[in-house]
Symmetry: C2
DNA sequence: TTCAAGAATGCTGCATACAGAATTTCGCAT
DNA sequence: ATGCGAAATTCTGTATGCAGCATTCTTGAA
């Protein structure tokens, strides 16, 4: 019903199941990767702020978390949708146990609500919720900007500039999806350059919740224009390492973001 | 081993199990409640920012989340401890399934790490982790303070003042635990008065991670003294509804908090 | 005595089974 | 037709079983 035709749960062959799920993922979920690779910024943070083991062996519930999260963000699971453990499990080709574990995780992230003995519901954000999130995000990005002015390397700043130029190119081409991805990436880059892992995690969490709404809000290229001007200011401020100016424009950018997306709530 | 003498898992009687767990909770875990009740502040927020249904029917995994979270915060599960699903499950009198679900939730909250096929480990915070958390918390509280100046009712402010006075009384009595609880409660109150549910949730999450460390940091009453002076400033600023002053003192308070606790990391 | 390879044990990851709550359906009376 | 109530169905919540990975223990050789 949701992903692929329901399949018989071939009894108890766990490893094969994982492989199947992984294989299918590539074909159905396009992922968030963009052609333009940010290596310096991301690597610097991984190296300095996170754990040293990059050997990511994914478990099933882990895989399911990203799958379902993507489904919600991409709108394939609409807000208000009741998540049916049996059906979704069948659609994903997994049993209910890891799926339920994944749902608990997503509930903690705030993407779904867990109603006792009635299951999980994709969370619907009210207008106030969105404003609240943007308000917090503004404060977090302002902090990130200040820290980035202190900690970012010249290399990273150059790469951010490159990302910005790439985004402008996508704007010129009216390529909405790629424009949006680069836009989000730039915001994440500020968080990463702060060298504060907690800030990165918190920022990512809230940004993820807003992702779909912000994407929908960027409907017309006219709306992108003002956003781009602010981005230009942001990059310039970082290049000057002017923390106050950067924090100011980031906060302003978030405020304007609300104006841009309020119509789609 | 951990909570109560291991008991036979009397086969499959779920509801009785819940009742047993609830009953036992009261007797073993003292909870975080303080004699002094904050009603106005908390009710106002519940009423305006959260869901309208206060009929909390707790499921088992939900109960386990709070139990295990408390165990970590109270230090009965020390950082670095490997969480043994079988043992902990027996100690809590529940099967592994809801326990595992609870662990996924706590992992998302950042209190434990999940290592594939090796289970859960109570997260150990480095010095940098703590500084990062305080840095973010400072930004969040500064925002909360600004918003509180706008949204708080006079009633709420009066109640905050009462909380503050109560905290001073506990200080005078050298009652460390009660002092600490009121202290945390005051910080939460600022978040609540912001009328921003996302801010409240984010703040609570980070505050919970820091709780144990901050408690340990408050070892000597001398350390409390400076903290109290800042609190006095905070309350006064809110009474004047002076957002800039409040944001400033909150940020300063967080900075000093680091000085107070850095020795116990 | 030390080290290494293999056996044994223990634990996690996932699937499935079962009980009870929620919801729907259906019969019946109004 | 419509509203009500009970049976039936569906789904969630929890327990348990099984397979494979990790770790520890054991044993044999250098």
């Amino acid at each position: 019903m949701l992903l692929s035709p329901a399949r018989r749960p071939a009894a108890h062959r766990p490893r094969a199941r994982i492989a199947a799920a992984k294989g299918r993922r590539k074909s159905t979920a396009p992922g968030i990767s963009t052609g333009h690779r940010v290596t310096i910024i991301e690597n610097n943070v991984r190296q300095r702020a996170e754990e040293p083991a990059p050997i990511t062996r994914r478990t099933l519930h882990d895989e399911i978390v990203t799958r379902v999260r993507d489904m919600i963000i991409e709108g394939r699971l609409a807000p208000g949708t009741r998540i049916h453990e049996g059906q979704l499990g069948q659609a994903l080709g997994v049993s209910r146990t890891p799926l339920r574990e994944a749902l608990k995780f997503l509930a903690s992230e705030g993407l779904i609500d867990l109603v006792p003995s009635r299951g999980a519901v994709v969370r619907r954000f009210t207008e106030k919720d969105v404003r609240d999130m943007l308000e917090v995000l503004a404060a977090l990005e302002a902090l990130a900007g200040r820290l980035a002015c202190i900690h970012a390397t010249d290399e990273e700043i150059a790469e951010l500039r490159a990302l910005h130029e790439a985004m402008i190119a996508q704007y010129a081409a009216r390529n909405r999806l790629e424009y949006f991805k680069l836009n989000q990436r730039i915001h994440s880059a500020f968080a990463l350059m702060s060298r504060n892992a907690v800030l990165v995690a918190t920022h990512d969490n809230i940004q993820a919740r807003l992702k779909r709404i912000r994407f929908l809000g960027n409907e017309t290229p006219e709306k992108w224009q003002s956003s781009i001007a602010e981005h230009e200011e942001m990059v310039a401020a970082l290049e000057r390492r002017d923390a106050d100016a950067l924090a100011d424009v980031l906060a302003r950018h978030m405020h304007n973001a609300w104006e841009r997306i309020r119509s789609v709530i």
